[in-house]
């Protein structure tokens, strides 16, 4: 059976966030509030933010979408929603294909575990079977260039070494849909060069790329379409050639 073609389809997507302040995270303060009877502020002392409103998006194989917009305009939220982590409040998201999200490399790394264990963990989470992970282990280990350090706990690594490990582990799995928050540039100059090559390969293999970035040159290089987010509202998807007009608007 032929699998359905890779695609992303968002219909009238709306995402709201409760923002919990420090006070809202304490049960004691919660109870104290009820006892005193003062219900100041909105819902349980947490405000609600509409991060994305009424976004519709259709992407098919071969689409390389760049997301532009100011900080807090909803780019990362959209990527997280596409990865399946955030549930929409209204509308729907449908993704065909295996998703890989390279949003925050260090998240999910266990600092007390060894480098090898972290690679295994990451591979399992990405959907590989234990055997598949073992098959790829040598290649990932070699790419990371960490050698004997892989047998040491990650907390003993320097920041650059940690970044190498995270990058090697996260990019070891091919995906149909690749979600990226900023083009990842990690490690020293040498590593940046090979990391760049590896990412390019990953992008070429992926059916769809969604890349959020502030770097205009980068977007021109890798994307063929672009969308601008503004306070959670998305512009229509336009051709990358019209990027300047979109940014000026």
């Amino acid at each position: 059976m032929k699998p359905p073609p890779v695609s992303i389809s968002c219909k009238d997507l709306t995402l709201r966030f409760p923002v919990y302040g420090v006070d809202a995270k304490s049960l004691k303060k919660h109870l104290a509030k009820i006892a005193v009877g003062g219900r100041l502020g909105s819902h349980h002392g947490s405000a609600e933010v509409t991060a994305i409103s009424n976004l519709s998006l259709e992407l098919k194989a071969g689409d390389r979408l760049g997301l532009v917009g100011h900080n807090g305009s909803g780019k990362t939220t959209l990527l997280r929603a596409l990865s399946g982590a955030y549930e929409p409040d209204e509308g729907s998201i449908e993704v065909q294909g295996h998703i890989a999200a390279l949003l925050d490399l260090n998240l999910g790394i266990d600092p007390t575990a060894t480098g090898m264990d972290n690679i295994r963990l990451r591979g399992r989470i990405a959907g590989l079977t234990a055997r598949e992970v073992d098959e790829r282990l040598p290649e990932i280990a070699e790419f990371s260039g960490l050698g004997a350090f892989l047998e040491m706990p990650v907390k003993t690594y320097s920041a650059g070494m940690q970044a190498r490990l995270a990058f090697a582990a996260a990019t070891a799995v091919e995906a149909d849909v690749l979600l990226m928050d900023e083009w990842i540039a990690v490690g020293d100059a040498d590593f940046q060069k090979i990391a760049h090559k590896r990412l390019l390969k990953l992008v070429e293999r992926a059916g769809i790329l969604v890349l959020a970035s502030h770097d205009v040159e980068l977007l021109r290089l890798y994307c063929n379409k672009v969308m601008r987010m503004d306070g959670g509202v998305a512009s229509p998807v336009t051709d990358i050639k019209k990027l300047d007009e979109l940014l000026a608007a």
Binding site: A81, L103, T114, D117, L121, G127
Partner: protein
Amino acid sequence: MTTATHMLRTGRRGALFEYQMAFRDLRASVERIDLAWSLAWHDVVSRYRGSILGPLWITLSMGLMVLGIGVLYGELFRVPLHEFMPFVALGIVFFGVVTATINEGCDTFVQAAGMLSQTSLPMFTFIWRTVLRNLINLAHHIVIVLAVLVYYGFWRIANYPVALLGIFFLIVNVAWISMLVAIISARFRDIPQIVASITQSAAIMTPVFWLPDRIPPRYHLILDANPFYHLLQAVRAPLMGRGVEPHTFAFLAGMAVVGWVLVFSLFANTRRRIVHYL
């Protein structure tokens, strides 16, 4: 690759729909139970990497505690050692797995924040991770149980089928409590301390270190209304060749049903929000 390659996420469509989605999460976690197993195994292996005995370190220290308490309290309470030692050993091992699973439950989602915020993994996977991790540890501590049962000869009179039933009820109940505190702790960060103090006082109020038949009848509510007592009793009594009162199993079954209904409803209603709590 075994991962589903189709993902559909939709907005709120009423209460029934939320329950369906919660159920789908549960089913997906069961289909990928090997992932939960890998995560649990990773936790155990990485925690004890570099130590020769691994989790048996905990078993060793637990064994020393059993010896110490068994000898000292046996003397204080004037109970013969051959009766008190197995009692305390079983108590410490099985009560230990109960409190550890509940206490660690508080960290279940908080610890998994990184994975939950960029993947579509089922949330139940992380509940199973905590439960399985503690079962792996329990499997190590079984050494103490076996040693005591064999040394004091209880292995001949132990009722294993009933004990297994007791362990089943223990796991089912501890799992929902672990999930309950996981969800609440994600929302309210002061819950773990509260949970820790509850399990700590439970260790004192429950006959782990003292014999239940020493308690005067007018205080019997301390036993009958204490869920931890029933959890422990259903495993310990049969292993010591004693009968379990039917109301203990009735209590545990009722607790499992009510608890799971409650926790599942809570999960269905908070599932969308948990990732934002973190």
